[in-house]
């Protein structure tokens, strides 16, 4: 599903250039539930952004579902993000002036699904994450855990192949984190590829495989947590 070959990425920092990813080779199969770990600055978020086509890379090749993702026009990038990918962010990134249902429905707006239809689909997905009663509420009226479940519903609504989550439980307490993780597992059971960037052992433990990153290279493709 996801195939990275010798991905390199550096950022300009002032006059210098910061080499973040120093040749990443990585493969994630269809239906895998994978976590990426690493200390801060190891490049795990950058890697996820590249996989999510939110950011470009300098050299190497990235294939998503058999398609080479390289030098895409903004329009094509938007198309792939919408069709293949679903994002879940640490800070939720819900639009605060839209209610829960409208937030969930937004990806379908960009697929030109009519308002009525996309809102009813959004309600279904809200039901799946157990928040149907909260459909009319604004994000500001919801708890962190609820917001993240809405964000997951939004990521799922366009029926993407891959769900990417960047520290999805970073802003949540441990019990809510568990709930959210359960949802990811369920999603995975439905056949979706899920990649979670995290630094929490509890979260990483719940995934099939842990990829350990350090200083821009992959340290271990199947890291075993010391129990």
């Amino acid at each position: 599903m996801i195939n990275l070959k010798q991905i390199q990425k550096s950022y300009p920092v002032g006059n210098q250039s910061l080499h973040v990813l120093k040749g990443i080779d990585m493969e994630v199969g269809k239906g895998e539930l994978v976590s990426i770990m690493g200390s801060s600055g190891s490049g795990k978020s950058t890697l996820l952004n590249i996989i999510g086509i939110l950011d470009g890379y300098d050299s190497g090749d990235y294939h998503l579902a058999g398609t080479l993702i390289k030098n895409l026009s903004e329009k094509r990038a938007a198309h792939y993000r919408n069709k293949f990918l679903g994002f879940v962010f640490q800070s939720f990134n819900l639009l605060n002036f839209k209610n829960a249902m409208e937030n969930v429905a937004l990806p379908l707006y960009y697929q030109k699904v009519s308002r009525k239809k996309r809102n009813s689909i959004a309600l279904e997905y809200l039901d799946r994450v157990g928040l149907k009663e909260w459909a009319e509420h604004l994000p500001s009226e919801l708890s962190g855990g609820q917001k993240q479940r809405i964000a997951i519903a939004r990521a799922l609504i366009s029926d993407p192949k891959v769900i990417l989550a960047d520290e999805p439980t970073g802003a949540l307490d441990s019990s809510t984190s568990k709930e959210v993780m359960e949802i990811f597992k369920e999603v995975n059971k439905l056949g979706k590829t899920v990649i979670i960037v995290t630094h929490e052992h509890d979260i990483a433990e719940g995934t099939d495989r842990i990829i350990m990153l350090k200083d821009g290279i992959i340290l271990d493709r199947n890291f075993q947590l010391a129990s």
Binding site: L54, A78, N82, P107, S158
Partner: protein, 416 residues
């Protein structure tokens, strides 16, 4: 563009961000409002200036007598110059380019004028037949003074509407006799005048009659003439020629401009038009700056909006928004707000002018309202101005929107 869903999305965004939308809208509406007011102001001023000259023939010379100020052929300065019928005849016969010519013999003071039991005092002007055209009197009944009146020194009178009202009330005055200081005159005509009301409180009689009846001999106090469609240069030539002729006849220096004083209304008119053009230029400049201020205001708000919504743009892009749709979102919102508020501003401005509120306001501030008449706005101009602001405002919104659409999602989503 006419995607209902897109518009719903835009209405929704405007509705959920009311303060921001209101401030943008107010900015545009206010700009248009001020612009419309300025346009009405300019138009009123134009009308006012025209009106000032409409009353009298624009292209005319007023020739007044004076005293010499330069020694000439051994005669000391201080000699009084007087006109008489010969001067009138001389100009009539020898000056080319004169369209209408009249003299005026002033019968000093106001005279008691009587009709039956009604009496009042009015000014009497004794004139030649051409005076009708110089004063732009409008005959509403009967006739003006004619050459036969002049030749036979007939005792006929032409009354202003105000005079008729005072002396006759509702009675029909034509053919009736009025008494001016004991002498009876037959009323043969009634006139009106567009100028001040006092212009219709005057009684006109033939100049020859007045000269005979009130001991004037053949004297004339003032000569007035029009020059048709002569240009400024031609009118100045005629002015010089008349002056030279009078200088030769009355024996004073051609250099002596105060022995006979000639007042060229054409010159005055052109001077006024110059002032008017200047004021119009100022108004246009103020208008343009108002427009620019409006455009800058809108683009400023757009910049802030884009900044404020950067994260939203990032989210939208992450879930599949194309750059095109991001530009569209911002542009349509700006367009909608500017069109609606521009329209409101335009209507308010026009109502403010047409209802007379503006004139009342100006009056209360002590503007000389003689120079501001019929404050009004040309609808087409108003629409064009509104369109320009809407267009420029939207254009000003385009660049921040385009910039926003090009932000990489990863940049837009960065935590502050």
């Amino acid at each position: 563009m006419f995607d209902i869903d897109k518009w719903q999305e835009i209405f929704h965004t405007i509705d959920k961000n009311r303060l921001r939308s209101f401030i943008t809208a107010f900015n545009v509406a206010w700009g248009i409002f001020i612009l419309i007011i300025l346009m009405g102001f300019g138009r009123g001023f134009q009308n006012g200036v025209h009106h000032q000259f409409d009353d009298d023939a624009a292209n005319s010379l007023f020739i007044n007598t004076g005293t010499t100020t330069l020694p000439h052929r051994g005669i000391q300065p201080g000699k009084q110059i007087n006109f008489d019928n010969e001067d009138y005849n001389m100009i009539r016969e020898k000056v080319e380019g004169v369209e209408y010519l009249t003299g005026r013999y002033y019968v000093s003071g106001e005279f008691t004028v009587r009709y039956q039991d009604n009496y009042s005092s009015f000014s009497i002007r004794s004139v030649h037949p051409d005076h009708l055209h110089l004063e732009k009197s409008i005959m509403i009944e009967g006739r003006y003074i004619n050459d036969k009146d002049l030749m036979e020194k007939r005792k006929v009178a032409i009354l202003g509407t105000k005079v008729v009202k005072v002396l006759f009330g509702n009675k029909h005055p034509i053919g009736e006799y009025i008494t001016i200081n004991g002498i009876k005159y037959k009323v043969v005509g009634i006139y009106d005048d567009l100028g001040q009301e006092d212009e219709t409180k005057i009684i006109y009689i033939p100049i020859s009659t007045a000269q005979l009846a009130y001991g004037g001999g053949n004297r004339i106090h003032r000569l007035m003439l029009t020059m048709g469609d002569a240009t400024l240069e031609q009118s100045l030539e005629i002015q010089d020629k008349v002056h030279a002729m009078l200088a030769a006849k009355h024996v004073f220096s051609v250099e002596d401009k105060r022995a006979v004083r000639i007042f060229n209304i054409w010159e005055e008119y052109i001077r006024w038009m110059g002032i008017f053009d200047g004021i119009r230029l100022v108004l246009a400049a103020v208008g343009i700056f108002t427009l620019i201020a409006g455009v800058v205001g809108v683009s400023n708000i757009m910049l802030i909006v884009v900044k404020e919504r950067t994260r939203e743009i990032g989210v939208r892009k992450a879930i599949g928004a194309t750059p095109h749709s991001v530009i569209g979102l911002f542009l349509m919102e700006a367009l909608l707000i500017t069109i609606v508020s521009g329209y409101i501003g335009m209507i308010c401005g026009m109502m403010f002018i047409e209802s007379g509120l503006l004139s009342n306001l100006m009056l209360s501030f002590g503007f000389p309202m003689d120079f501001f008449i019929d404050l009004s706005v040309n609808f087409t101009n108003a629409v064009v101005a509104t369109f320009i602001l809407v267009f420029a405002g939207t254009l000003a919104g385009y660049f921040p929107a385009r910039k926003a659409s090009r932000i990489k999602p990863v940049e837009a989503l960065k935590d502050e």
